[in-house]
């Protein structure tokens, strides 16, 4: 087995283009997951009859089925049913966002439950409006504690984006495959794609670990 430096160099521009797509997917998907997860967590913790149970069922359903199947369901069933046709990229963002929202919602819930009951009681005793209890008292205490968990989910999501190859999202891995098909040499592009993932996720995980230490001091 030999390593072709030329092929490696040639594949790099394409791979970097793919990496950009991967990063965009991750950032947008995470933003959706953070927002939606928070909504899920708040609805569940607010114990709204029926709605809270529905969210619980939905979260369990999504958490116990593979992401790939969810991607297919959204792409081949949901979009046609709604009679819309978002691109593969946006399908990916939605699928990653919803899938990870079910995980982030559990992280948020742990954070919310860690806020002492006395905080709720003090807020009630001061007749703070319900919405303000959340935004002014509970979430500012709950969210910082779960930031490391949220960061870890972003890293997991980043590593799972190649799955979206299945619906034709052109990310790093797709670019590697393309390059491989063109030159009939797959070692260099795939190895480089792997390295690119490593180059992004390893420093990120160090950052998250540092965040964990800081949160530990809260």
């Amino acid at each position: 087995m030999d390593w072709d430096w030329e092929n490696a160099r040639d594949s790099l521009p394409l791979l970097l283009e793919g990496l950009l797509v991967t990063v965009e997917l991750t950032l947008l998907g995470s933003a959706l997951a953070y927002l939606l997860g928070l909504v899920f967590a708040m609805i569940r913790e607010a114990r709204i009859p029926v709605l809270s149970q529905l969210i619980y069922l939905f979260v369990e359903l999504v958490r116990s089925t593979p992401l790939l199947i969810q991607v297919f369901v959204i792409f081949w069933l949901l979009w046609p049913a709604l009679d819309i046709k978002p691109s593969a990229f946006w399908t990916g963002v939605v699928a990653l966002g919803i899938h990870y929202a079910t995980y982030t919602s559990e992280a948020y819930r742990a954070g919310i439950q860690a806020v002492p009951k006395g905080q709720w009681e003090a807020a009630t005793a001061l007749s703070l409006p319900r919405g303000r209890v959340w935004t002014g008292v509970i979430l500012p205490q709950a969210v910082p504690r779960v930031l490391p968990a949220l960061g870890n989910y972003m890293i997991s999501m980043f590593k799972e984006t190649p799955l979206l190859l299945a619906i034709g999202v052109v990310d790093v891995l797709a670019r590697a495959k393309e390059q491989g098909a063109e030159t009939f040499r797959v070692i260099e592009p795939y190895t480089l794609a792997g390295l690119l993932f490593l180059l992004v996720s390893y420093p990120s995980s160090i950052l998250v670990r540092r965040l964990e230490r800081r949160v530990g001091h809260l």
């Binding site: 006395g118 905080q119 003090a122 009630t124 005793a125 001061l126 007749s127 002014g136």
Partner: protein, 254 residues
């Protein structure tokens, strides 16, 4: 000002309050004493609407707190009614429960701004006066974690007063404090009690304080008031054997 009428409160099978009746007049300072688990704190929590009654009614300032009338029927009060009623009642907790994500000034101005609709300026002026009263004018920008327990509790008192409550509930407000910090908090409370016309309902184990500031002391046992008298009378010549036993136990300790 406060009237309990046949109030029953159960936690599961455990009956905490059994058909409790009592009244507190406007401006009165009433202290509840009695063994732990006798339901004293539950009374405060019912008034603060942190718990709901199983039966009976509670009236505050002549208005029913626990129920509203719907046509000719009375139904348990909804959240909207409770929120209106809560504005007249303040509570100071054993564990202070200051908001750790806000500084002292924000802790005090939060509710007047968000709940009463005061402007930030008005609320801050009110907060500064109150901080002065509790002797913490220099701590407005401090965070709760930078304060001693006694200071935190004085901030919590200022926070409750900022809502200008008609009734103030004190739930063992010195029980979580180091002994040397208790006096400062009690001094502040005594001053408020003597200079305002707020109605106080106080649960405490500080018998000397109860004796000093109370207009009336109610001895509680097993969910009922077993003795209700002026402090001089109750502390010096209690009638009920259970009161004697209880006072004996707590006062001997000192």
């Amino acid at each position: 000002m406060i009237r309990f009428d046949g109030v029953v409160k159960k936690f599961g099978d455990h009956v905490v309050l059994r058909e409790l009746d009592f009244t507190v007049s406007p401006g009165e300072f009433v202290t509840l004493i009695g063994p732990s688990g006798s339901g004293k704190t539950t009374i405060l929590r019912l008034l603060m609407t942190l718990e709901r009654v199983n039966d009976g009614r509670i009236y505050v300032d002549g208005e029913c707190l626990t129920h509203t009338s719907k046509g000719d029927k009375t139904v348990p009060a909804n959240e909207k009614h409770l929120r209106e009623m809560r504005k007249r009642i303040g509570m100071v907790f054993q564990q202070f429960n200051l908001f750790p994500n806000m500084n002292v000034l924000q802790n005090i101005t939060e509710a007047p701004v968000r709940s009463l609709g005061l402007s930030k300026g008005e609320a801050e002026a009110r907060a500064i006066d109150l901080l002065d009263m509790v002797g913490l004018s220099d701590k407005a920008k401090a965070h709760p974690s930078q304060l001693s327990g006694g200071q935190q509790q004085r901030v919590a008192i200022a926070r409750a007063l900022a809502m200008r409550p008609e009734v103030l509930l004190l739930d063992e407000v010195t029980s979580a404090l180091d002994p040397e910090l208790v006096a400062g908090v009690l001094r502040v409370l005594k001053e408020i009690a003597t200079t305002t016309d707020i109605t106080f309902l106080c649960v405490t184990h500080e018998m000397q304080f109860a004796r000093d500031v109370s207009d009336r002391v109610m001895m509680f046992d097993q969910g009922q008031v077993i003795e209700d008298a002026a402090p001089e009378k109750l502390f010096t010549e209690p009638e009920h054997p259970r009161t004697r036993e209880f006072l004996h136990a707590v006062l001997d300790r000192a």
